[in-house]
């Protein structure tokens, strides 16, 4: 399969009064047509900023993409003019945001928001756009789509709004959808509905999907490949099975050990990662996970380890990635 999106050495920084925050610091990953890639990490690790960088929605000031390439279908998005980028946004790459309460315009009807997007990017009459809007709502599991078109976001529940967001993102037949925590604000049964919907629709329409989430369960259920981020860098990348069954970075290991699992025996003590995530404006040359790492050595303070290959498609950014499984047994 051909590469749909290639991100290379992306660097996004924010200039604040407290100093320069390296929110994304040399991120490289790719997405193939039709596949689902997850970006996992905790708050402040740079996963959302990576997504906003792809869409070039980083607010300047204070934020700026200072280096790297984002190639979409062979074209470097960072070299496009704002007008050209506006054509890519929404048409080729669509975005689903976390907050279904705030990401729709409260003073425009659902129908108008869908039709406006379509008419911006496609040559389509009012009548056809309205018909297509109703079809999309139907596809996204919204009952009485014709009536919903004339309703406003406040008439709808959170789950419904997120369905509208998904309909909106699919409206111009994109090749890629970037979903930033699409279900975090929703209840569990609604979360399952929305994720199933996204999975079946992207499969049906052959759309690639980048899911940004902190929920390891969601990743396990839906992602083909996983990138784990910590402090602005990807620290481990691989297929879902490689990451969950053979984690090679101490942070990935720690994340997996710190979530309680429904299929685990009760009474097993959780093993948290001690300490706090680092301040991204005060990073040194060494590994940023070092202060919280159980396996840190002197060399970890000297330089940041490069991504080392473990098996085809599986890489980890740790000096000790080859011995980490044995070390875990011992401790």
């Amino acid at each position: 399969m051909s590469k749909l999106l290639e991100i290379e050495n992306l660097q996004t920084q924010f200039y604040t009064s407290a100093g320069t925050v390296k929110a994304v610091d040399g991120v490289t990953y790719d997405v193939e047509g039709g596949e689902t890639v997850a970006v996992v990490g905790e708050s402040g690790c740079g996963k959302s900023v990576t997504a906003l960088s792809i869409m070039q929605l980083i607010p300047w000031p204070p934020g700026k993409i200072i280096g790297g390439e984002i190639r979409f279908d062979g074209q470097n998005l960072l070299e496009l003019s704002e007008d050209d980028m506006r054509n890519v946004r929404g048409r080729d790459i669509a975005m689903v945001f976390q907050e279904p309460m705030t990401s729709l315009n409260p003073v425009l009807s659902i129908g108008l928001q869908l039709m406006e997007t379509m008419q911006q990017h496609m040559d389509i009459s009012d009548e056809d756009a309205r018909k297509r809007a109703a079809e999309l709502l139907q596809k996204c599991g919204i009952s009485e789509p014709e009536r919903r078109l004339d309703q406003y976001p406040h008439h709808l529940s959170g789950g419904m709004r997120q369905r509208v967001m998904i309909a909106l993102s699919l409206s111009c037949n994109p090749k890629l959808i970037v979903a930033d925590e699409p279900t975090t604000a929703l209840d569990v049964t609604i979360q399952a509905q929305i994720l199933e919907l996204m999975k079946s629709l992207t499969k049906e329409m052959g759309v690639a999907l980048i899911v940004i989430t902190h929920n390891l369960g969601v990743v396990a259920r839906y992602a083909d490949r996983v990138n784990v981020m910590y402090a602005g860098k990807i620290i481990e990348t691989g297929t879902a099975e490689q990451i969950y069954h053979n984690p090679r970075h101490p942070y990935t290991l720690g994340l997996l050990a710190s979530v309680p699992r429904l299929d685990q025996e009760r009474g097993t003590k959780l093993i948290p990662i001690e300490g706090q995530p680092p301040d991204l404006s005060r990073l040194d040359d060494g590994c940023s996970f070092r202060p919280r790492c159980r396996f840190a050595q002197d060399r970890c303070a000297q330089s940041f380890p490069e991504l080392t290959n473990i098996e085809p498609g599986h890489e980890a950014r740790c000096f000790r990635s080859n011995e980490i499984q044995d070390l875990r047994e011992v401790s």
């Binding site: 396990a220 994340l255 710190s258 009760r266 948290p272």
Partner: protein, 339 residues
């Protein structure tokens, strides 16, 4: 580990009830009219719920938004006046007490809130946040000894005692939640209501706080009502789990029992909806997605409130309100079809 937990559950069988909630109802009136408001409807946030919590036990209370789990907590805390029903604490019905008589109970029953950002006063130093309730309830009268105790509690909760002079905005979310826990502990409580106490935290920090809550429970012999929407966390911490839906309790059982042998269709749906962090397990798991949305508690469905979304519902479910019955020792279900 398993040996100690078995011992604990055996002790719990013979322990007496610390909290007994009988047929609790809380309706919030919906009014219309500016000058002469009249009640046009009631939001039935809690609609006849009964349960008890034994001394030293952790009862988990789960459900989705709007199911009434937080309202139950607030009613027990007497932050909300119950519409009907009794709440016995150590044999005394809290609903019948006046403000003055409630004072000792306000010390014994503490709460840890969800949002560590809005539940601490931004203009107070950590030392004052912890010291003020101790002064009001006259727990330690001597100011110097009080400071000592605050330092001790901060250390118990895994915080640097120097934080006593800091303001909440100088701390991270996880640290603030630890302050919230220390604030509950400073009153020497017997019973703590944890209302989504770990939901706002990142996974690695969440695990730290869960472990802290477990350690404190053992050290101080605490009883918890653990309210959360995350079933995996609830199962991890609780001895028994109660599942709520739209103001009603639909199932209540021992933690292992409810996860190994869920009976109510809603409990099953809730368990199915939670993904397990393992791609191989997930690939082999059956995913039944519950249809529809949660109805408005202002206008709940007739009969069993879950019947419009239920896949085993029969005709009678829309007419008759199911009784909450004990189908096995300690396993209560409100569904006539499955029991």
């Amino acid at each position: 580990m398993s040996a100690t937990s078995a011992a604990v559950s055996h002790d719990l069988d013979s322990a007496e009830n610390l909290v007994e909630v009988r047929n609790l109802k809380k309706y919030f009136p919906v009014t219309e009219g500016v000058f002469i408001p009249r009640v046009v409807a009631n939001v039935k946030a809690v609609n006849g719920v009964s349960f008890n919590i034994k001394k030293g036990e952790t009862l988990g209370l789960v459900g989705e938004s709007g199911c009434g789990k937080t309202t139950i907590g607030r009613c027990i805390l007497q932050l909300e006046k119950s519409t009907a029903g009794e709440i016995f604490y150590d044999g005394v019905d809290l609903n019948t007490l006046d403000q003055k008589e409630l004072v000792p109970y306000r010390q014994k029953i503490q709460v840890i809130f969800q949002d560590p950002y809005s539940s601490l006063n931004p203009r107070m130093k950590i030392g004052d946040i912890l010291g003020e309730p101790m002064r009001v309830h006259n727990i330690i009268a001597d100011p110097n000894k009080r400071v000592e105790r605050i330092r001790e509690l901060l250390a118990v909760c895994g915080l640097n005692p120097r934080f006593i002079d800091r303001y909440p905005h100088e701390m991270s979310g996880g640290q603030r939640q630890r302050v919230g826990i220390a604030r509950a502990l400073c009153m020497n409580p017997d019973f703590i209501i944890c209302d989504e106490a770990v939901s706002a935290l990142d996974v690695s920090i969440q695990a730290q706080v869960i472990n802290l809550l477990e350690d404190l429970r053992e050290e101080f012999g605490l009883t918890y009502l653990f309210i959360a929407h995350d079933l995996s966390v609830v199962r991890h911490l609780s001895n028994r789990v109660a599942v709520m839906y739209l103001g009603n309790m639909v199932e209540l059982a021992d933690s292992d029992e409810i996860f190994n042998n869920p009976m109510h269709p809603y409990t099953k749906a809730l368990l199915d909806a939670i993904p397990i962090p393992d791609p191989v397990v997930e690939a082999n798991r059956e995913h039944r997605i519950v249809k529809g949305e949660i109805p408005s508690p202002m206008n709940p469905p007739s009969g069993c409130v879950f019947h419009p979304r239920c896949d085993v519902a029969i005709d009678n479910c829309s007419n008759e309100v199911p009784e909450f019955i004990e189908v096995k020792p300690g396993h209560w279900v409100a569904c006539p079809v499955v029991s």
